[in-house]
């Protein structure tokens, strides 16, 4: 990879939005004064929420928030890929399909008919899918939402011409590092930490509550063991399925865990 900082001009950066809550773009907009500093280091050529509009220009780095969920989205993501040297998917929607992936597998046509009085005017694909289902993604930042530290770390690495370091450890590791008592062991709370990717800083156990998996599956996640643990804590199959089917329902590891729980369901 060419080092972007050897180029004569500042690296050109775009931030694109697909189906989402806009929350991961706040990793930029909540930077405070660092936002002004970032704008000095890179050329923000397209970032609709912040103002600059130029979706067709070539860029060095494109950050993409949101999932692909309409026919127009499909065309747009291919166009972005063709005009971006590096494409970084940010957040649960872009990496797993997001919370709206809960509609996958449901009868979304019927849902549209129940919500809108003119269902023909609503154009929506059958599935909400991550960016990597459609185009090559150079790096994924998981999390719902991602935070500014993750985003800045990625930008810094990319400015130095290296692909950012991925951290797919489990939330449990972060809990131990902070010295938080384990909510599952000490209070019997059904925590998703053992199978969930680190990166948030173990915020939920830090408040004495369950992790609910918003950063997606960790590497080597033993979902069988966790499902068995949940069952021994008295959770019904429905409750176990819902633990895996939330913010990152379409992440393959969580989807498989939910399917396995359903197929083995006897209650």
């Amino acid at each position: 990879m060419n080092a972007p900082n050897s180029r004569p001009s500042k690296p050109r950066v775009a931030v694109h939005k697909f189906s989402s809550c806009d929350g991961c773009q706040l990793a930029f907009l909540n930077l405070g004064e660092d936002l002004l500093a970032l704008a000095e280091r890179v050329d923000l050529v397209h970032f609709a929420e912040a103002g600059p509009l130029d979706p067709d220009t070539d860029v060095d780095i494109a950050f993409v928030e949101g999932s692909v969920s309409t026919p127009e989205d499909l065309e747009r993501i291919r166009h972005i890929r063709a005009h971006s040297r590096l494409l970084i998917a940010i957040g649960a929607c872009a990496t797993s399909g997001g919370i709206q992936g809960l509609r996958n597998g449901a009868d979304s046509e019927q849902w549209v008919a129940q919500i809108y009085s003119h269902p023909d005017a609503i154009h929506s694909l059958a599935l909400s899918t991550p960016i990597s289902n459609h185009v090559k993604v150079d790096f994924e930042i998981w999390g719902c939402p991602i935070n500014s530290q993750q985003m800045l770390a990625a930008v810094k690495s990319l400015l130095f011409g290296v692909i950012p370091r991925d951290n797919a450890d489990k939330v449990c590791i972060e809990c131990k590092r902070h010295g938080y008592p384990c909510v599952m062991v000490s209070r019997g709370i059904a925590c998703m930490g053992p199978v969930t990717r680190a990166g948030c800083g173990a915020l939920c156990p830090g408040l004495g509550r369950d992790c609910y998996g918003c950063y997606g599956p960790a590497e080597n996640a033993n979902t069988d063991a966790l499902a068995a643990q949940f069952r021994s804590q008295g959770l019904t199959s429905q409750a176990i399925v819902q633990r895996f089917q939330s913010i990152n329902s379409q992440a393959p590891v969580f989807l498989a865990a939910a399917d396995k729980t359903r197929s083995g369901s006897h209650d």
């Binding site: 939005k17 989402s20 809550c21 002004l36 509609r103 849902w111 809108y116 509550r209």
Partner: protein
């Protein structure tokens, strides 16, 4: 420009500096507006459907994902609805801290909107980074205040986007006194900055405008309504959240994935200006005096006062947070016990952009049978189109296309539309088989 009539088609394919995806179509023929549509094409996300069957304990985490900019509004409204149905009485600590938490979101969202989204328009800048070159201190002050809002949310929610602290019956955790003391110092130091922000906002020349509209917002007998109160309208309506459906309705227009709301069949305004129009006398005395000092007369029929209204609510929210944190003590328990029961749960709060209303039908196990959520932007959608039509006629259709486009965008940004919020919703008259 003379008597010459022209045909103008203005198409703004992507509206910049709004949250979410919207577009504007304007067609002028023979000096008349033939078509004017605010098109919202943010894909639908079906929240109301996929929370069916979910346990009430999961709902605050799920509905937060409707909007990254106002997740607290969704969490607190859902919690309020369930707590009312389940007969949960919040402790005085939890009640006060819900308001502080919510103030954080107002401060963050309003300051973001003023400085990053709206103000550049009035200084001939395309965005905040350009604005920072000509008004560096003001933009830095704005980003600093925005950061304080985020810190307040962080205190109770561990992060400001999709915070994780709300629990039905209170909060999952309580911040230590040391953290609160540090926060109080920062809030106190920010009060003069917020006053300066109001003076700055009041000095920005705004286009004159005078339109008749009904303001709708919450009203509380003895404080400025944020997280609790009844629903009021400037024509005298005063109802509880459970009676919303008797006066307000939503319909689907073909060009939008957000539903349009009406009040007694007509468009209406929600948001900071509507709230100030209804509740000026609930502002603290020093804030009212400041309004007199800068010459901000209320009620106002000029939507361009929305930016100043946000600045006023930032000072109010900073003062409220400080007042409530001054009496802070770490509680024995940050939450109280909850026993679910079947029935209809309704709740409403004032999201930064205006009234937010939730309705859940719950079963006896505490699971959602069905849900409806009416966000502020779908309530403002009809008013935005009405405003654009009137304002353009007032502004003059003979202006060059670029000036017309910019004027339309300024008007739309006054409402701080959150298009991500508006599209996830809702429906009236759900037919079930």
């Amino acid at each position: 420009m003379t008597e010459q009539k022209r045909t103008v088609a203005i198409h703004v394919p992507v509206l910049a500096r709004v949250e979410g995806e919207g577009a504007l179509d304007l067609r002028i023929e023979d000096g008349d507006i033939r078509q004017l549509r605010l098109r919202i094409f943010e894909p639908p996300r079906y929240f109301e459907k996929f929370i069916e069957g979910r346990h009430y304990t999961e709902i605050p985490d799920m509905v937060a994902r409707i909007c990254g900019i106002c997740p607290v509004a969704y969490q607190v409204t859902a919690a309020q609805a369930f707590e009312k149905l389940f007969g949960v009485e919040l402790s005085p600590w939890a009640r006060a801290m819900r308001r502080v938490f919510y103030c954080g979101e107002w401060i963050q969202s309003h300051s973001l909107h003023i400085h990053l989204l709206a103000a550049p328009d009035f200084f001939g800048c395309g965005n905040a980074i350009e604005l920072a070159r000509i008004a560096p201190d003001e933009v830095r002050r704005g980003l600093h205040i925005q950061g304080l809002g985020n810190e307040l949310m962080d205190l109770f929610g561990a992060r400001s986007v999709h915070p994780v602290g709300v629990r039905i019956g209170g909060f999952h955790g309580a911040p230590s006194l040391a953290r609160i003391e540090a926060m109080r110092d920062k809030l106190r130091a920010a009060l003069p900055e917020a006053e300066a922000l109001i003076r700055w906002a009041a000095a920005i020349p705004m286009p004159p405008d005078d339109q008749a509209f009904v303001s709708v917002g919450m009203h509380h007998p003895d404080r400025y309504a944020i997280e609790t109160g009844d629903i009021a309208a400037s024509d005298g309506l005063l109802i509880g959240a459970e009676a919303y459906d008797e006066h307000f309705a939503e319909q689907h227009e073909l060009h939008s994935t957000a539903l349009f709301s009406t009040y007694h069949g007509k468009p209406y305004l929600v948001g900071p200006l509507a709230r100030l129009n209804l509740n000026r006398d609930r502002l603290p005395a020093n804030v009212q005096a400041l309004l007199d000092d800068v010459g901000f007369e209320l009620p106002s029929r000029n939507i361009f006062h929305s930016l100043l209204a946000r600045a006023v609510e930032i000072l109010l929210a900073l003062q409220e947070a400080l007042r409530l944190l001054d009496a802070y003590e770490v509680p024995d328990s940050p939450w109280g016990p909850v026993t679910p029961r079947a029935g209809i749960a309704t709740g409403c709060t004032e999201a930064p952009r205006g009234l937010l209303w939730h309705r859940y039908e719950m079963d006896g196990d505490g699971r959602v049978v069905n849900a409806r959520i009416v966000p502020p932007t779908s309530q403002n959608q009809g008013r935005i189109e009405e405003d654009l039509r009137l304002s353009l006629l007032n502004f003059g259709l003979d202006h060059p296309d670029e000036a017309l486009r910019l004027h339309c965008e300024k008007i739309i940004r006054n409402y701080d539309p959150c298009i991500s919020c508006a599209t996830h919703f809702l429906c009236l008259n759900v037919e079930r088989t």
